[in-house]
Amino acid sequence: MYRIQECKTRGYGRPVGLLGGSFNPAHLGHRHISLRALHRLGLREIWWVVTPGNPMKNAQELKSFATRSVFAEKVSDHPHIHICHFEYERGLVYTSHSLMALRAAHRDFSFVWIMGADNLVSFHLWDDWRGIMKTVPVAIFDRPGYRYRALSSPAATAYRAFRVREEEDAGNFAFRSAPAWSFFTGPLNSLSSTYLRSIEGDGGRGISV
């Protein structure tokens, strides 16, 4: 009874995409996947969920949260991309916990978890990864060189029955009931991938600007 109620309330909430990571540092690839998600999935906002990090694990590698989030603000530079301090404020390190907390804190939103294809390859190693799959729809965006490893990964294989075929208009993806995941291809980066392919074997003539 409660689950049905929950689905009805959540069904048409504000569609928000969540891009998690260390953002150490943020870069144009993060921005690029965010813009792709905004457009393909009809999302209103993308939140860059900056992990506080695990002090035991990455003390040496990880810059301070302040440094990373300030830099992420600069790089995101878009009215619909927001830097999310949710995990930092609550000391949340695992996505599985963060998603449940985010959903509880924002009951009128419909979240989509966004990842690059490279993340899907090792997604089965994440804490309670099956819980994540059962909590929110997951949108995976192709990255050069990772497509086949991603689609043959343990996570993709385990949830193959819940894969949604890529559609031209995926504007309702955020409202799908979990588990639901989709792999989005299309121009990886309209100019970059075409350009990179064009100079395979040194056949290209360079970019005319």
Binding site: H32, G53, A59, V75, I199, I207, V209
Partner: protein, 143 residues
């Protein structure tokens, strides 16, 4: 070569290279003896197209994303794009794998991912704005 500070920055400012056809980077090996062949190739390529304020930052022991980050400037957007264009050509000609690029067609900031080395080419004002060097030089994990 970890010259200055914890990050090991090694600054090279726009030295001339007579030959833009990088087939054997012997001259690069003389100028950058402590760098691996990939980063020597990158540095030579950047110089061959007159990239400015080339900075190489070692990430060894600091981050697992790459061994090295190299940052350079182009004078205007068209220059930034030409530098990145030539860099990718040189990498491919020498059988190095280019994982991807970001930032085209704008030419404010172009990122070339060559796996072990990540190269950022900026217009000068954009480089100042993002200040990647400050990011990598800042303190690690803390409040």
């Amino acid at each position: 070569m970890e010259g200055r500070g914890a990050v090991g920055m090694y600054a090279v400012c726009g030295a001339e290279s007579g030959n833009s056809q990088i087939s054997e980077d012997r001259s690069a090996a003389r100028v950058y003896p402590s760098h691996g062949s990939l980063s020597r190739l990158v540095l030579s390529s950047l110089e061959s197209f007159k990239a400015e304020d080339i900075v190489s930052m070692s990430l060894k022991g600091k981050s697992s994303i790459a061994d090295e980050v190299i940052i350079a400037s182009g004078v205007v957007a068209r220059h930034v794009i030409a530098i990145a264009d030539q860099l990718v050509r040189d990498l491919k000609r020498n059988s190095f794998h280019v994982i991807g690029m970001e930032g085209l067609p704008h030419g404010d900031w172009v990122l070339v991912d060559a796996a072990d080395v990540i190269i950022h080419v900026f217009r000068p004002e954009v480089r100042l704005f993002y200040d990647l060097e400050a990011f990598w030089s800042s303190d690690s994990f803390g409040p």
